[in-house]
C-alpha cells in the first residue's frame, strides 16, 4: 500500500518535473488563458507548447499531467508494436516470495488470493523438487476468453489477456476453463483502496469489484510507461525476465538476454504446452541451480 502510494506520488513528481523542464505538454486552453492573466503576479515556469515554442507561464495555470488510466476502448486494443513475454528461470528461484508481495501491493490484493503462486513441483519421484513461480500465462489460444459469455475477458494485440470488471457477470466459467488455475474471484467485498481517485480501467484493474474475476495482467499500466511490472523488479534473484518478443529481448532489470537465444540455449519450454493454449510464459529448466531446494513455510505446500 505504502509502496504503491509512494510510486504514485513519485510518478506525479516526475511528471511535474517534465512540465517544469519544458518537455511536458500543457493544455491549449491554458496557453490561451495565459494571455488573459499575464499581468498577474506569481511564480512562473517555462513550458513547451504543442507547436514547439518555449513559453513562460504562471505555475498556477499549468495543468499538471498525471497518468490517466486508459479508456476501455484503448485498454481492449493493447499497446502497439508489443508482444509481451515472460521467461521464468527455474534454476534461480528459491521461493523468496518477493514477487508475490510486490504484486499484492501493486494490485491491492489480500494474501488469500494472490495472482502469483510459487508451487513446489516434482516432475518424477527421482528428480529433485523445485519452485515454480506461476502467474497467468497470457495464452495465445486462451480458454478463458473462449468461454466468456459477455466478452469481459479479452485478448489484446500485445499478448495480454485482460478482464473488464465492469462487464464481468461473475459466472466463473473462465475459472473452470483455465487449466492453470490462474484466476481468482472477489468472493466478498475487496480490500478498499485508499487515496486513489482515478477512473477504472481494465489496465489498472483498480478498484477490484465484488463478484468479479481477476488475475495477473502483466501490469499494462506500468508497461505503458515503459516500466517493468513490480514482480520482475522485486525478485532478489532475477528469476523473472520480461520483454517484447518483437524486439527479441527479455530483461530481469539487471541482465538482458536475446529471447530466442535464451530459449534455444537453455531449452526453454512452455508449461503443459500440449493443451494447445499457446502460453506466452516460458520456463527454463531447473538445471545448475543457484540454490538447493529447501521446503518453504507457505500454507498447504
Amino acid at each position: 500500500m505504502e509502496k504503491h502510494n509512494s510510486s504514485l506520488s513519485e510518478r506525479r513528481n516526475f511528471l511535474k518535473l517534465f512540465a517544469a523542464g519544458g518537455i511536458g505538454a500543457i493544455a491549449l486552453k491554458n496557453i490561451l488563458s495565459f494571455f488573459n492573466v499575464k499581468f498577474e503576479s506569481g511564480e512562473k515556469i517555462t513550458a513547451l507548447t504543442p507547436d514547439g515554442k518555449l513559453v513562460s507561464v504562471l505555475k498556477s495555470q499549468v495543468e499538471t499531467h498525471v497518468h490517466h488510466p486508459v479508456t476501455q476502448k484503448v485498454a481492449r486494443e493493447g499497446i502497439p508494436g508489443k508482444k509481451f513475454v515472460l521467461v521464468v528461470d527455474l534454476a534461480r528461484c528459491r521461493n523468496a516470495r518477493k514477487c508475490i508481495e510486490a504484486c499484492e501491493e501493486h494490485h491491492h490484493l489480500t494474501p488469500d488470493r494472490p495472482f502469483i503462486k510459487v508451487l513446489k513441483v516434482q516432475d518424477n519421484p527421482r528428480s529433485s523438487p523445485y519452485w515454480m513461480p506461476k502467474k497467468c500465462f497470457q495464452c495465445d489460444n486462451p480458454p478463458c476468453v473462449k468461454v466468456c459469455p459477455v466478452g469481459a475477458t479479452f485478448k489484446r494485440s500485445d499478448n495480454i489477456v485482460l478482464i473488464d470488471n465492469e462487464r464481468c457477470i461473475g459466472c466463473r466459467f473462465c475459472m473452470a476453463a483455465c487449466p492453470y488455475s490462474a484466476r481468482v474471484f472477489n468472493w466478498g467485498e475487496p480490500k478498499p483502496v485508499e487515496n486513489y481517485h482515478e477512473p477504472y480501467s481494465p489496465e489498472t484493474s483498480v478498484p477490484s469489484r465484488k463478484g468479479t474475476v481477476e488475475k495477473c495482467d502483466f501490469c499494462p499500466d506500468m508497461l505503458r510507461e515503459n516500466k517493468l511490472p513490480p514482480c520482475i523488479t522485486s525478485c532478489p534473484n532475477g528469476v523473472l525476465f520480461f520483454g517484447n518478443a518483437l524486439e527479441d529481448s527479455v530483461t530481469n532489470g539487471s541482465e538482458t538476454f536475446r529471447l530466442s537465444k535464451l530459449l534455444r540455449d537453455k531449452a526453454g519450454y512452455r508449461y503443459m504446452d500440449d493443451l494447445g493454449t499457446q502460453p506466452n510464459v516460458y520456463y527454463l529448466p531447473p538445471v545448475d541451480r543457484l540454490f538447493p531446494f529447501k521446503e518453504g513455510d507457505q500454507p498447504n505446500s
Binding site: L119, P149, V150, N186, W187, G188, K210
Partner: protein, 451 residues
C-alpha cells in the same frame, strides 16, 4: 364386450361417462382445503428462508457460500444441472411416448408438462443465483458472445421454456374451456380467468383438428430441443480444460441420466396426485408397472453410460485424471460415489425388475432413491473435478481445499425445490391435472358403439 373392457383397462382408461370423467378430474379445483393451505404455507416458509439467505449473498457476496477459488462452482451449479435434467421429462412423456403411440401414458401428459415447466423455471432462477453479479444479468444480451457455451445454454433454455409452455398451454385449452363451462362453485375472478385463457374455445371439430396438429408439431419440435438443452448443459463442462469433464461421452451421459430421474419424478408425482386427488381409477397400478419398467430401461441405459464414462479413465489412470478417479472410487468422495452408483442406480434396477415389486409403494420408494442419487450424482460431477486441477493446489488457505456448503447454500437450494413444488401445486390446483379431452377421446376410440 369383455374384450373391449380388457382393452380399456389395459390402457388405463375406465369405462365411464364423459360427465363422470369431467367430474372426477375437476372436483379438486375450487376453494383450497386445509391440507393444501398448510402445504403451501410450508413451501412459502422454505422460500422465505431461501430469500433471506439470498439477501445475505447479495449483500456480502458469494463469500457466504463455501465456494472458493478452486471449487469455484458448488451446489448451485449441480442443482442447476439437476433441474435441467428434470425438465427433460416433459418431452419424454408427452412427446416420445405420445409419438410411440403408448396410449396408456396419456393421463401422464399434463403432469409431465407441468413438471417440465416448473423445473426449467427453477433451473433459470438457480443459474442467476449462482452469478457473482446478478445486477449485470442483461450484459448477457448486450454483450452476448455466440462463441460461449453459456450463450448456447441461454438460447436453448429460452427455447425449451417457450415450447414447454406452449405444449402445456395448448393442450390445456379444451380443459380450461371445460372449467369455464362446468365449474359452478368458483369465485368470480377464477371464472374470468378461465374465460380469458380458454381463448374462446368452443369444442368445435375444426378447433380440435388444429389443436392436434399444433400438439403434434410441438411434440416433434420439443425432442431435439430437449436433447440439446441437456447436451449443451453437459458442454458447459466438456468444453473446459478439466480432468473429469474432458469427455466426449458427457452429452449422452447427461441426457440418459436426465430421462432416468425424470421418470422417477413422474412416479413420485403420480403417487401423490393419485392419493390426494383420489384418482385411483385414472392412474392405475398398470401405470406404476409401466413407468417402473421404463425406469428400469432408462436406468440400464444410464448404467451403460456410467461404465463408459468411468472405465476408460480408471483403466488408464492418467495423471490428475487418475487422482480424480481414485478420489471418487477410494478417497473422500467414495461413500457418496458408491451410494449413488449402488443405491441410486443398481438397486433400483434390481428391485423394479421383479414383477411383484412394480407396485405404487415400492416404486415410490425406489423413485426417491433415484432422485436423491441423481442430485448427489450432479454434485459428484461438478465438485470433485474442480478440486483436481492440472496444477497442484498449493499456497492457499486451508478452506480452499474443501467444499462443505454453507447454510445459505442449502437454504437457497431448498428454496428452489420449494419453488418448483409450489409452481406444480398451483398449476395442479387451478387446472385439471389429467388431460380430460384426451382421456375422453381415447375412450371413444376404443368404444365406438357407445358414441
Amino acid at each position: 364386450m369383455d374384450n373391449i373392457i380388457t382393452k380399456l383397462e389395459n390402457i388405463g382408461v375406465p369405462v365411464k361417462d364423459d360427465d363422470r370423467i369431467e367430474n372426477d378430474l375437476m372436483k379438486h379445483i375450487g376453494a383450497p382445503g386445509r391440507g393444501i393451505k398448510f402445504w403451501v404455507f410450508v413451501l412459502l416458509i422454505v422460500i422465505l428462508i431461501g430469500a433471506f439467505a439470498y439477501y445475505r449473498q447479495l449483500r456480502y457476496g458469494l463469500i457466504v457460500t463455501a465456494m472458493r477459488d478452486y471449487t469455484s462452482w458448488g451446489i448451485y451449479i449441480s442443482n442447476f444441472v439437476f433441474f435441467v435434467a428434470v425438465s427433460l421429462v416433459g418431452s419424454l412423456v408427452s412427446s416420445i411416448l405420445r409419438l410411440s403411440k403408448a396410449t396408456w401414458a396419456i393421463p401422464l401428459n399434463r403432469i409431465s408438462e407441468i413438471i417440465a415447466v416448473a423445473a426449467i423455471i427453477c433451473a433459470s432462477v438457480t443459474i442467476i443465483i449462482d452469478m457473482g453479479r446478478p445486477d449485470r444479468f442483461f450484459n448477457i444480451f448486450i454483450y452476448g458472445r455466440i462463441q460461449s457455451p453459456i450463450i448456447w445454454d441461454v438460447i436453448i433454455i429460452g427455447t425449451y421454456l417457450v415450447i414447454s409452455l406452449l405444449l402445456l398451454f395448448v393442450s390445456l385449452l379444451p380443459d380450461i374451456a371445460a372449467c369455464r363451462d362446468k365449474l359452478r362453485d368458483i369465485p368470480k375472478w377464477q371464472r374470468r380467468f378461465y374465460t380469458y385463457f380458454a381463448f374462446n374455445w368452443k369444442n368445435k371439430p375444426v378447433q380440435f383438428e388444429s389443436l392436434k396438429k399444433i400438439t403434434a408439431i410441438l411434440g416433434i419440435m420439443v425432442i431435439p430441443v430437449a436433447f440439446a438443452i441437456h447436451t449443451i448443459t453437459s458442454w458447459l463442462f466438456a468444453t473446459t480444460w478439466r480432468p473429469g469433464w474432458d469427455s466426449t461421452n458427457l452429452g449422452p451421459y447427461f441426457v440418459s441420466g436426465a430421462f432416468m430421474v425424470g421418470t422417477a419424478i413422474i412416479i413420485v408425482a403420480m403417487y401423490f396426485i393419485r392419493k390426494y386427488l383420489k384418482l385411483n381409477e385414472y392412474i392405475t397400478d398398470r401405470h406404476f408397472d409401466n413407468m417402473s419398467k421404463l425406469l428400469v430401461l432408462l436406468s440400464l441405459v444410464y448404467l451403460y453410460f456410467n461404465i463408459n464414462e468411468y472405465l476408460g479413465p480408471s483403466f488408464k489412470m492418467v495423471g490428475v485424471e487418475g487422482e480424480h478417479i481414485t478420489e471418487l472410487f477410494l478417497g473422500s468422495y467414495a461413500p457418496l460415489y458408491w451410494f449413488v452408483q449402488i443405491v441410486g442406480l443398481i438397486l433400483p434396477i434390481i428391485i423394479l425388475v421383479i414383477t411383484p415389486l412394480r407396485k405404487p409403494l415400492p416404486a415410490l420408494i425406489v423413485s426417491f432413491l433415484v432422485i436423491i442419487g441423481a442430485w448427489l450424482k450432479r454434485f459428484l460431477i461438478v465438485i470433485p473435478s474442480l478440486q483436481h486441477p492440472y496444477l497442484p493446489i498449493q499456497d492457499v488457505d486451508e478452506s480452499y481445499l474443501h467444499y462443505n456448503p454453507t447454510w445459505e447454500e442449502w437454504a437457497i437450494t431448498a428454496a428452489t425445490f420449494a419453488g418448483a413444488l409450489l409452481i406444480v401445486t398451483i398449476l395442479i390446483k387451478i387446472f385439471p391435472v389429467l388431460p380430460i379431452w384426451e382421456i375422453k377421446e381415447e375412450r371413444k376410440a376404443y368404444k365406438p358403439e357407445f358414441k
